[in-house]
Amino acid sequence: MKNFGFKISASRQLDMDTIQSDLYEKLIQLEPTAKRCLMCGACAATCTAAEINGFNFRYCHLLMKRGILDNLAKELSKCMLCGKCYMVCPREINTRSIILKMKALMTETTPKHYSL
């Protein structure tokens, strides 16, 4: 194969037909309140960890929903489990439970040091 001095750029487009959705399917079975998330971001706004380490509950939830799991375990490890997000959620989503379930689900797919 020839090298012309440049590479063919990879596409950033997410193909929704082929996303890995099995973990999210499990998640909403384990914690059905996740289904009613509005993605309003109140959880991320109030998050104690967000200001320090950039943790974003809303985004982590969406990453799992869209099957983008590459950095998810690392992102989830930033949560300090204080539960402030649960207090502000307008849809009464059990956020802490979702974090714990997502972490548990991710241990099935990621190296041990990211596990609980």
């Binding site: 194969m1 020839k2 090298n3 012309f4 001095g5 440049f6 590479k7 063919i8 750029s9 990879a10 596409s11």
Partner: protein
């Protein structure tokens, strides 16, 4: 509010007396295409068309690559118009799609900002002593071929049909962004589904493929291919199109833009070299034609006079499908009648 609905839009295309502006890059990429267009319009259709020797760049590539300021672009385009006025023409026909877009952009600018027009008149006068008139029509050559597609069909020796099976050939038509997207009102048909090439292909017996990425840009992008580090963006867009059209097994691609023809042709070779992948069953690649080459072939012009030997993807499998005769020996004959010696290159 004005409603923007282009689909039924059919623009006015003048039927004679054209002032032709050759394209900088087409003359080196596809040197046969412009001569072919002049032959079609002048000899086949019997129209008056001026091929002025004194023309020059419209600055398109420099302008889009941010090295030519807009004032300069306007003044240089004004000089092109002045040459047209001098010869007594009103219908400007730029060969290049980027020129077409840029000329329309400049004329539109002058409509909204008369002071820019006055400044351009002043600049041109100071620099060259010239004056100019704004053309009545700026028409792309593909519009003219489209307009006369029925007349041309009567004179054609071949159709876009597989001579063995009698089935229409499957054609990917690709429209240059600067033809259809800069000023959608300057397009035949709509911006989303332009009719200009599809109309020719269907009139002449072919079948247009409507594949999902039909409306996606070829990826040419000026700065993207000019700078090596950016070429990955350019080729990725072309590849997206090839992947999308592959399941439809196209027999060839036809475009109306120098950049699109160039890159849909050359990037196929590049992808083959980089990844080993071709997008047809035979491993030849999908031939890419300009609309002039397509028209010329069907009219029975010698393929080597059209400049098909300068394509990266060889057109011979396509010629065989349509049943167009050609002489293999003549492929690399120069104007002098001698074989072009590639060793010197």
């Amino acid at each position: 509010m004005e409603r923007k609905f282009w689909k039924n839009y059919q623009k006015d295309i003048p039927d004679n007396n054209y002032y032709y502006e050759r394209s900088c890059i087409r003359q080196s990429f596809f040197p046969g295409s412009e001569t072919t267009f002049l032959r079609i319009v002048g000899d086949v259709l019997g129209k008056q068309i001026e091929d002025d020797q004194n023309l020059h760049t419209c600055t398109g590539i420099g302008y889009h690559a941010d090295v030519v300021p807009f004032e300069t672009t306007q003044t240089i385009i004004a000089r092109l118009f002045s040459l047209m006025s001098e010869k007594g023409y009103r219908n400007f026909v730029p060969s290049c799609v980027t020129s077409f877009g840029l000329l329309n952009e400049v004329v539109e600018t002058w409509k909204h900002f008369p002071e820019e027009l006055q400044q351009t008149r002043d600049f041109l006068k100071q620099a060259t002593g010239r004056e100019f008139e704004i053309p009545e029509y700026i028409t792309h050559p593909c519009d003219i071929i489209y307009k006369f597609r029925k007349e041309l069909k009567e004179k054609m020796r071949f159709q876009i049909v597989n001579q063995k099976t009698g089935e229409p050939l499957r054609v990917v038509e690709h429209i240059g962004c600067h033809y259809s997207k800069v000023f959608p009102q300057a397009v035949i048909g709509s911006a989303e589904f332009p009719q200009v090439l599809a109309g020719m292909v269907e009139e002449w017996g072919g079948q247009v493929i409507d594949y999902p990425e039909r409306r996606h840009c070829c990826g040419f992008g000026f700065r993207h291919y000019l700078i090596m580090a950016n070429r990955g963006y350019s080729i990725a867009n072309s590849r997206k199109k090839f992947e999308s059209m592959e399941p439809y097994h196209p027999d060839f691609i036809v475009t109306n833009c120098p950049g699109c023809t160039m890159f849909l042709d050359r990037w196929q070779y590049t992808i083959k070299e980089m990844e080993g992948k071709t997008y047809d069953k035979q491993g030849n690649g999908i031939p890419v034609l300009t609309y002039e080459e397509m028209t010329g072939l069907l009219l029975g012009f010698n393929p080597w006079d059209l400049g098909l030997q300068l394509h990266q993807i060889s057109a011979e499998p396509l010629l065989d499908k349509i049943g167009i005769p050609y002489d293999k020996e003549q492929k690399y004959l120069g104007k002098s009648g001698k074989i072009i010696d590639f060793k010197g290159f």
